[in-house]
Amino acid sequence: MSGADVLAILQGAVVTVTLSLVGILIGLPIGLALAVLRWADVPVIARVVALYVSIVRATPLVTLLLLLFFALPNIGIAIGPVSAAILALVMNTAAFNCEVWRAALMNFPRDQYEAAQSVGMTATLRFRRIVLPQVVHVSLPGLVNEMSLLIKVTPVLAVVGVVDITRAAVRIGAETYDPLPPFLIAVALYAPIVFALVSVQRWIERRQRIAEAAA
């Protein structure tokens, strides 16, 4: 494996991480919106969201990706590999995040919400000033956990031709007839990223535990 090969894998890594970030950035607020829809129990829509979350959480990312990449053009929507990848990542992230957000919303102390009502805060104010800050705080470890899980499934994007880590590694392996080293390098790139995220999550959890114990 030459230096150029390693560079190719690195470039693939950049693509992977970028797509993951896009997926997370878009999926996070969508997940929150979905969770709020269920929390507010909006008629019909809450049920639809519950169904969507249940199905997407049960679907392997590779299957979802293939579905979007092949099926959408079939019904008239043209979509390229990168867009399909982002869409699959966003749908996946939103569904998993939704559950993290929802757990925090469901466990939100009722009397704090009533206190906000009793001083005359409107629904928007109640949500923005009282509910959201605390829900973000509580959801943080779970959300970081989901991020690390998301990064770990991104190698599958190669399946639809996104030139990410996997594709680069496969190509090099095919060219050099030595498939193992590029994959080992790919793992060596991934592992620290995931490890960093897991460490951040543990740090957040530890800090929150200490804060609670001191109270």
């Binding site: 249940s54 199905i55 959480r57 049960a58 679907t59 392997p60 990312l61 590779v62 299957t63 979802l64 293939l66 579905l67 092949f70 099926a71 079939n74 019904i75 990064i151 770990k152 499934v153 991104t154 190698p155 599958v156 399946v159 880590i165 996997t166 590694a169 392996g173 498939p179 193992l180 994959f183 080992l184 790919a186 793992v187 991934y190 592992a191 620290p192 995931v194 490890f195 897991v198």
Partner: protein, 218 residues
Amino acid sequence: MIRDFGIVWSERDLLLSGLANTTILSVLSAAAALVIGFILTPALVAKQRWLGLLARGFVDGMRCVPFLLFAYIVYYGFPSLGVRLDNWTSGLVALTIYNAAYMAEILRGAWAAQPREPIEAGIAFGFSSAGLFRRIVLPPLLLAAGPVLGNQMIQIVKDSAFLTIIALPELTHAASSIQSRHYVPFAAFITAVFLYWGLCLVIEAGVGSIDRLAAARR
């Protein structure tokens, strides 16, 4: 669209064999991973430092590696070691080793949360170590860890889909094959999605009944 589903229906044998492969693969690797997990967990909490570090290194390592890449490494790595494995076996091995790490972590957490007194009572009543494990330690442990193990099971089912990459004829691979031959991508993959969903619901129902068993005994 109806015609498309008709085509998928005509290929149902392929789809069902894919589903069977997914199910068998998942169940086998889950069981094997659980057994290995039971061996790993004591190593995780072992008094000998080197053993604990080794086990912790393995568990944390598996947690940081994407399964797809790990499957590739197993698939391409074993031949380098001289062992020829077909894709089914290497898929099973990859799935098992990978999830053994997660099972060990789950069992460790469940074990730490278990109260000690019932076990001490068992010892006081004269239970030998084998009997103690089988009748006093294991049942409450599994009941408590039920939901988390169920989640891991679902994760295993989803990870199995990655093995389509190494041409293992599981469900996603079957759907892909039908799609590429008949050009019915929507019908084929939506069917696969609903089959995965069904599998998931079955697992959740199983966890639910274990949960009810556990609740009755609380």
